[in-house]
Symmetry: C2
Subunit: 197 residues, 2 copies
DNA sequence: CCTACCGATCGGTAGG
DNA sequence: CCTACCGATCGGTAGG
């Protein structure tokens, strides 16, 4: 009985977090009100607080959910035995996959993290900085191995991440064909620009 | 006398718009209050309304100021007699220049335009769509001329614009050397990926 | 999960 | 350019 209740509560919370992500993406964190969210969930605003502690808690859940997935992927890619250029392509494909399948959450964690409160804010910023450093280290490996052009690795990382994260049409192309087309174009343009000729 | 007063007012307004851009960039449009802005200008909140009509008017000024500059540059580039790849490079350099010299305004017009009210909102969206179409048309010319790889032009435009617009470190590198380094890297990575080998 | 409600803050106005 | 102030809306709580 208690077990079932916990499960019900946590799935209810997941629904709220997911609806919050959609709302925060559409209106921005500050402009989205808890009354908006309540309406989209189908309850009164006060009822939301039986499942969550605060509005910012919703933002934590979204931002760290995304950050954790990226960190785990980075662990996986780093420990693999692929070439640097293959690792870069793996990461690009993962980012695209995240944009296609978790568009709202990724978008929000990318553009609304500034509204996190401070123990979480600096934690998030640190994770972000580390992720980028590890990504740049892979590119630097590739430069040393003569797989990748001699470019500034941190700049290349920013270009890759923003190029992918900026495309708003990912979520419109849930049709796998379109997403796959977009992905191929992306890789051609981005990796084509990186590969040693 | 009247002349001088008008000039004083308009320069006062320019200061307010500029301070607003810095504040909107830092906190986001919704989270930045008119009281914050008043403090940064050095007056009481109510006094701002002798120079501006509303908070959203500030956003109009910022967004359309940027949009107009981009449109004029596009006119200039289009009417030139350079090759397609040269035109693309001109536009990239202009975007970078805008990021270095008008960071706050460009950042805000890029990420806070959603908060425009509706006659302005759709106008802005249309201008944006048109700019991207004209940019894509240049790339398509380049593809036809065999200057540029056969890629999807609209996707390439989004990649270019977001790659440049996403770099937060532009404004930290007002030292011309750093900006120039960043620019060269950018061109190498982006155009290098576009040029026909 | 709801009704009822609170204190804080917001954009903006009146009047001088 | 300021003081004084308004109505609306916000995140969140009490109590059931």
């Amino acid at each position: 009985m208690a077990r079932i209740k916990i499960e019900k509560n946590s799935s209810r919370k997941e629904v709220i977090v997911s609806k919050a992500a959609a709302l925060f993406r559409e209106k921005g964190f500050k402009a989205a009100s808890m009354r908006d969210l309540a309406e989209s969930v189908g309850v009164e605003a006060a009822s939301l607080y039986n499942h969550i502690k605060s509005k910012t808690e919703l933002l934590h859940e979204i931002c760290f959910g995304v950050a954790n997935r990226f960190m785990h992927k980075m662990d996986e890619v780093e420990s693999g035995s692929n070439s640097a250029i293959e690792k870069v392509e793996q990461l690009i494909r993962f980012h695209i996959d995240e944009m296609v399948n978790h568009y709202e959450e990724v978008y929000v964690s990318d553009r609304e993290w500034k509204h996190l409160a401070d123990p979480y804010l600096s934690n998030f910023q640190t994770q972000r900085r580390m992720y980028r450093k590890r990504f740049a280290a892979i590119i630097e490996d590739g430069i040393r191995n003569k797989e990748i052009k001699k470019i500034d690795a941190p700049t290349a990382v920013l270009i890759l991440l923003h190029a992918i994260g900026g495309i708003e049409s990912w979520h419109r192309s849930t049709q796998k064909i379109n997403a796959s087309n977009l992905t191929d174009n992306m890789i051609t343009i981005l990796v084509g620009g990186l590969e040693l000729k």
